[in-house]
Symmetry: C2
Subunit: 308 residues, 2 copies
DNA sequence: ACAAAAGTGTTTGGGATACACCCATGC
DNA sequence: GCATGGGTGTATCCCAAACACTTTTGT
């Protein structure tokens, strides 16, 4: 049906929409769930923030496209992305009819630090997202809904953490994603009895001041006194509340903040330089790893579900 | 970017894939979960069975396209479809690069009977699906997985039943979808305590020999003696087993059946004429309705989940 | 000494499961 | 009467939620 002539034009008997991909990349810095955005350099929506993504090539699947674009635009090299679905609003792109296939992905902390090509790529805390280009607000709502569902069935969390992590890091991650608070002891028990964690033998120094804590420490302790206080409200807020239309009801603090401050950008690159490493207070905890074998065993033997 | 010239050609600076939709329509006849398929009248895959669907127009969303194509090809008029996702395999259509956005939908029994335009549209029992065109086998696996997940959280079942139904009809539906068997009494209790059902006042005749039972009765009683025996194996079979590659291991009965028989077609239209109405045996049960208000109350007040 | 964070065990209540008897209908 | 299927209650068990004290570290 399609014919390619020499003038680099592509001709079809029937109109074809353009197909793009967009990728919602989640990260976790030990405190908040974050999303990777890029600042658009061209129209439409020039200057606004958007998910990395772009036009699909004929010789690649949508998944491959999402991974390629992510690499090109942010330097992140991920092995897999999960599809959220197609978004086909008729006027979602003012240029032409564009159907986008949206994905989401999880970037571990180590990977977060790896991004160097990301000139205009920044991580935004999930409750400090600026207004986005296209229908990306809408896509983000779907992505949040999806990650909250997936975390019950799949070991989503471990892709967001380093290989080794403490139980409280894991718990903070779950709490960030689900927006709730768990009893520390019950969380511990529940996690352990899933059989998807294995404890790391305590080889004294190994985990101590390693790079693991770098991102975690960055800035966390500045606010730590008020951490629970600040976010307590958020913890029981629904997705819709979190993503109410700009200036919507019920969240006056957001309205008061001017856009520039609201769009405060934590650039992935600058992470390296800015950080000091005050250790977390208190007793250092055991460290754990994701036990892939244990997970497979669980998955095979019946319906695996993390019941939170 | 796109330019339309007078020769009914559509020209783009970059190659565009075609975009289609496909819709997996589930039905339930009181015994088996069914899927609506159409026989392809043109190449490619002429003569093979496929999901209803077709090319998306520029002035419609993918959802609208799926609903429109469903109407055109089968006569079914549905109000909503749910998206499964985009399938973007490079060679999934031999003609040109085609990305399809797949949907699934649920058709109530009454609606099933309504289809008159469906010349080559047939319902197939979920464990008697012929080999399908394109990558539709693959899509069907996703659809089955999805409906099994959705049924836990959403009142999926009620879209497949008539307005009024008996508890055992509902149970059979759940058992068909999930492939398991429930204790009748526990199922009853669990369903009732969700608060999403309301009992229908017994106005004697109203529900008795009404059209409700028509489809249900068709053919069910012919096999009823052996119903549980025949399907017991299937009940605990996983999706992958159910959809093993043609001639795969472990299901010798299928291998023995020649394709023509295997593709036995229960045409939606002929339902009207063929049926006799032997009532179900035993004591006639209470009838229930889906309680939309109760469902909304449940959904708002915390995480609604049907735990099966 | 004190604050902060982490490790651990017990109790208890509610919900899921297993199970049995009686009733209504058609033949 | 008998086969078939529907309606209901109870006992049990397990899991999840609630909850407190001790230990380690840094200041």
């Amino acid at each position: 049906m399609a014919t390619e002539n020499n003038k680099e034009k592509y001709v079809y008997d029937y109109p074809h929409p353009a197909v793009t991909t967009d990728c919602v990349v989640f990260g976790f810095d030990g405190r908040d769930l974050k999303v990777l955005l890029i600042k658009r350099g061209i129209e439409p929506f020039k200057g606004m923030w958007a998910f990395p993504g772009g036009f699909m090539l004929m010789q690649e699947t949508a998944e491959e496209c999402a991974i390629r674009e992510l690499k090109e635009e942010t330097g992140l090299e991920l092995k897999s992305v999960k599809q959220l679905g197609a978004f086909s609003g008729i006027h979602r792109d003012p240029r032409e009819r564009v159907v986008t296939i949206a994905f989401y992905a999880l970037a571990a902390k180590t990977v977060i630090r790896g991004g160097d090509d990301a000139a205009d790529a920044c991580w935004f805390a999930i409750d400090d997202i600026p207004q986005l280009a296209f229908d990306h607000d809408y896509i983000l709502r779907h992505a949040m809904k999806r990650i909250r569902e997936d975390i019950h069935f799949e070991p989503v969390g471990f892709d967001l953490l380093d290989e080794e992590f403490s139980m409280s890091e894991l718990q903070r991650l779950y709490e960030s994603i689900l927006g709730v608070h768990f009893d520390r002891r019950n969380f511990y028990k529940k996690m352990m009895q899933t059989g998807i964690l294995k404890e790391v033998a305590d080889d004294s120094e190994e985990a101590g001041t390693s790079a693991d804590d770098v991102l975690y420490d960055r800035g966390v302790n500045k606010k730590q006194n008020t951490f629970y206080g600040e976010h307590k409200e958020m913890r029981n807020r629904s997705i819709d509340e979190l993503f109410a239309p700009q200036g919507g009801a019920g969240h006056s603090s957001k309205q008061a903040i001017p856009t520039d401050t609201f769009c405060y950008c934590e650039n992935a690159i600058s992470f390296h330089d800015e950080m000091e490493k005050p250790r977390p207070l208190g007793r250092p905890g055991k460290r754990f790893r994701f036990d892939k074998e244990g997970y497979n065993r669980m998955k095979e033997s019946g319906n695996f579900r993390l019941e939170f």
